[in-house]
């Protein structure tokens, strides 16, 4: 296969970026998208040019590190991570445009590498059950209906890649945040802190500069792990319920 790549190059956070075009004549349809980029990078290095920087690690679709915006879609045309996208998905002679995630809350670090530390800070705000190591009851003390456990798992499957934010015209992080809120709202272990959790995580999400949700469902369509927007509905319900009943009722407005 031969392809043409238009890739966003940006030296550093504050540098001005631009698209550069590369002709890539040595593509096999069995290559993953990242392997195609590896081969291109080797060619660039051989020419004395700097390779294109992109995030990647496990290359098996689970670590959530890879993050390319390919032909206008996060992780490209399939509902999968970029590392699991193979060149057989593209046509010989095709021009492929590659950009970093685009969101104010995910500043570009270099080329296709962005800073997603906002996601960590949201998790730190409340994405946990407050138990210390040791002193917990036997694992089978609380039976959890299989259906509930499975639904919690569906939410917990989020890999934190940020495709939902990149897909959203508002750069909203609602799908990501709601996945964690849902997991703990569904499971009995999470119930003790469910109100504070949703309040704090939403507050942090807002302060990081993510946009609002306007129900376009682009996030769900692009999520490589098929996280459902039903989680967003659940988070809204949790949030509303927390706001009217939590111990520390906050009255908004007037500030």
């Amino acid at each position: 296969m031969k392809i043409t790549l238009k890739v966003w190059r940006q030296k550093s956070k504050d540098a001005k970026g631009e698209f550069k075009t590369y002709q890539h004549d040595h593509v096999s349809s069995d290559m993953s998208f990242l392997e195609m980029m590896d081969v291109l990078n080797t060619q660039l290095i051989k020419k004395g040019e700097e390779p294109i920087h992109f995030d990647h690690d496990c290359r098996e679709g689970i670590c959530g590190m890879c993050s390319m915006y390919i032909n206008g879609q996060p992780h490209g045309p399939l509902q999968t991570t970029t590392c699991q996208l193979h060149m057989r998905t593209f046509k010989d002679g095709e021009t492929i445009t590659v950009e970093p995630w685009r969101a104010q809350a995910f500043p570009v670090i270099k080329d296709l590498v962005v800073d997603r530390s906002a996601f960590d800070r949201i998790q730190q705000a409340g994405g946990y059950v407050s138990v210390n190591t040791g002193g917990v009851p036997d694992a089978n003390v609380i039976p959890i209906p299989k259906k509930i456990a499975d639904e919690a798992f569906d939410a917990a499957a989020c890999i934190g890649c940020g495709a939902c934010v990149a897909a959203c015209k508002n750069a909203s992080a609602m799908l990501f945040v709601s996945a964690k809120v849902s997991q703990f709202a569904l499971l009995p272990q999470g119930h003790a802190e469910r109100k504070e959790r949703v309040e704090k995580m939403v507050e942090q999400m807002d302060s990081e500069g993510f946009g609002s949700c306007t129900n376009t469902r682009a996030c769900e369509a692009e999520c490589p792990k098929a996280i459902s927007v039903a989680n967003i509905a659940r988070m809204n319900r949790e949030y509303f319920s927390a706001m009217v009943s939590s111990y520390e009722v906050k009255v908004g407005g007037g500030e």
Binding site: M31, D57, I62, Q84, H86
Partner: protein, 641 residues
């Protein structure tokens, strides 16, 4: 140097309990006066950092990824063992201990392995309390499955994403401590050296991967939770970033490196498709519960998976079931891998390259129905289809062995301390619990055992012993020298400006090791490998091309530093494999086999863990032997027939 394992005296089942009582404690009010560095945030690192933070210590944690949640533990699929005996099928702590020590082919310490089995039950409790969504039965209780090498169902799992869910549990506990201010997290920061002052570990030197800034951090103790070194083979199931640098730097600062040649080759991986291949993808070993492994009885050149159905039942060789009737497709990983390779060596391999065997689900789908199989393995089947374009519901998978896990690692005593006081190694980074071969679903167990339930006890003994005011500031000349050394190494790598890329060196190293120090090894081959690696290392330092500069995000520079260390480790692996003239576990020495071609262990000569001491640039390393004493189990040759 004398190796002291510090294994406690007394009956096996009481050792850990007694030891915990004998360990010194740090007064709760004094814990806040101690600082601890944790490098790596996988299962071992995240669980250790969180647990130590909860106890009140001040922790600094480091990871090279953009978030602690990305550590490679996340990719573990199959499950985690625990001796809960929830299934009433005869499991017990002693049985898990016995299976693990036998599975490791009697090359691990009894006391460590028993402790691992003991705390396994606490791990499940802890993870469930954190909200980890393990698989459950309709009655709401936890589900189990059996896993390679075990005849009881003791494996807990979360679909095919057990590692992900366990790591996210540990990550959530870590996040809570970050929010509480007890853990300070450094993302995208790589440890490049350990600082040792007056014989004790006093801190580390790191590089900020975004700015390139080299910095020193001091602490009372340093924990390396930096995973295994499988990427020395270039192609492995490890994440691209997984590396040996932290452990290797520690080794060069005095920490002994144990059993480096013990590398596990996993039988069920997706075969290589071409030279561009950047990593190998594991298909969980749980697939062998329902999948049957076979090749045609008579070689069929280039047999494709979609044509497999054309081979009649009578013309198929289910070689694992044939050779090992009692364990069948569930023989341990090394046995399955070696037999798969033997079929390919005989020319009976399948696929375009002939380097693959079939893993067939047709019978299971016929017996249980597609829905049941899909519920168990759906995501694995999807992943396989994504990568290969073949649908495993319709045709068999093709699999081939790949490097997966390294049992070797930094030598540690019973307290998980390396031979450098104050320097600890946890999880895959140490050598302690799996002997010469790790059983399935035991890596997650060990990582979390070390982090949640061992180090919080054992580190207190060291810290109470030295006292909180025994700390060295980063102004100390040794810190300055170490920063200087790290800086000059970075500059050296950038200044060579040779003709070959870092990856080209890495690939060559990997091929050499795979060929001569892979699934089977012999004296002549190992000697060739040693020479080749030495030559490659010399060439690397004259001819590597690292583009870019030091003061920016430079992934070529990161890789170059890691490959430089792999080039040194590779030679030590070969030395270790040369020394061990027996076959044991993953280590198959062709000179040592039974008349029917099975591995032959030689307990009289080799019942030891090898621990290698670094003696300086280009000097041969010195071998120390930790004799293994077996007071509870009788050493038998493994037989899965």
């Amino acid at each position: 140097m004398k190796l002291e394992s510090k294994s406690p005296e007394g009956p096996l089942a009481e050792k850990w309990t007694k030891h915990k009582f004998n360990l010194k404690l740090v007064n709760p009010a004094n814990k806040r006066k101690y600082e601890i560095i944790v490098v790596g945030t996988g299962l071992a690192g995240a669980s250790a950092a969180a647990s130590l933070g909860e106890l009140g210590y001040n922790v600094k944690a480091f990871c090279f990824q953009d978030s602690p949640r990305r550590a490679h533990s996340i990719a573990a699929q199959g499950g985690i063992n625990a001796a809960k005996n929830y299934q009433n099928d005869g499991d017990s702590i002693y049985r898990l201990f016995y299976d693990t020590i036998k599975g490791g082919d009697y090359r691990a310490r009894e006391a460590n392995v028993h402790r691992l089995a003991e705390v396994s039950v606490n791990i499940i409790d802890q993870c469930v309390a954190q909200g980890v969504p393990f698989a459950r039965e309709y009655g709401g209780l936890l589900a189990n499955r059996s896993f390679g090498g075990a005849q009881v169902s003791r494996t807990f799992y979360a679909r095919g994403q057990t590692g992900q869910q366990l790591l996210l549990g540990a990550y959530s506990a870590l996040n809570r401590q970050i929010a509480n201010g007890k853990v300070k997290m450094y993302n995208r920061t790589e440890m490049l050296d350990v600082v040792v002052v007056d014989g004790k570990a006093r801190g580390i030197v790191t590089r900020d991967l975004i700015t390139g800034k080299i910095e020193a951090h001091s602490a009372h103790a340093v924990l390396l939770c930096t995973g295994g070194y499988g990427n020395v083979f270039y192609l492995s199931t490890n994440a691209k970033g997984s590396n040996v640098t932290a452990a290797w730097r520690a080794h060069k600062k005095g920490a002994l490196f144990a059993n480096p040649c013990f590398t596990q080759i996993h039988p069920t991986c997706i075969p290589v498709s071409g030279d561009h291949q950047s990593k190998l993808t594991l298909m969980s070993e749980s697939l062998r519960n329902d999948g049957r492994v076979w090749v045609p009885k008579v070689a069929v050149k280039g047999l494709k998976a979609k044509d497999a159905r054309s081979i009649a039942e009578a013309d198929r060789d289910y070689f694992l079931e044939r050779k090992y009737p009692s364990f069948g497709n569930l023989v341990p990983r090394d046995v399955a891998s070696r037999n798969g390779k033997m079929m390919c060596d005989e020319g009976r391999g399948v696929g375009a390259t002939g380097l693959a065997v079939f893993l067939d689900f047709a019978d299971a789908i016929k017996r249980d129905g597609r829905d049941v199989i899909s519920a168990k393995y759906g995501n694995l089947f999807d992943m396989y289809k994504q990568i290969t374009g073949d649908d495993p519901y319709e045709m068999p998978m093709m699999i081939f062995p790949a490097v997966h896990y390294t049992m070797g690692g930094l030598w540690v005593d019973y307290n998980l301390m390396t031979s450098v006081p104050g320097l600890y190694a946890l999880g895959e980074a140490n050598f302690s619990d799996h002997g010469a071969n790790r059983l399935g679903a035991s890596a997650l167990m060990q990582g979390l055992a070390d982090g949640y339930f061992v180090i919080p006890y054992t580190i207190g003994d060291y810290l109470a012993g030295i006292g909180w005011n025994d700390k060295v500031s980063t102004d100390h000349p040794v810190f300055k020298e170490t920063i200087e050394a790290v800086n000059s190494r970075v500059q050296k790598l950038l200044s060579i400006k040779g003709k070959k890329t870092v990856d080209e060196f890495h690939r060559e190293l990997g091929l050499t090791l795979w060929e001569y120090c892979g699934m089977s090894r012999n004296d002549a081959g190992l000697r060739i490998a040693k020479k080749k690696i030495q030559e490659l290392r010399t060439e690397f330092w004259q001819n590597v091309d690292v583009v870019g500069s030091a003061n920016e995000l430079n992934m070529e520079l990161e890789k170059a530093g890691r490959v430089a260390d792999f080039l040194e480790l590779g030679e030590l692996m070969v030395d270790d494999a040369l020394d061990r003239k027996e076959s044991c576990g993953c280590h198959f020495r062709e000179e040592s086999q039974t008349t029917d071609g099975e591995a032959l262990r030689i307990d009289n000569d080799y019942a030891y863990s090898s621990a290698w001491e670094y003696k300086g640039e280009n000097q041969p390393e010195e071998l120390h032997k930790e004799e293994l004493k077996f007071e509870n189990v009788k050493l038998t040759q493994r037989s899965y027939k």
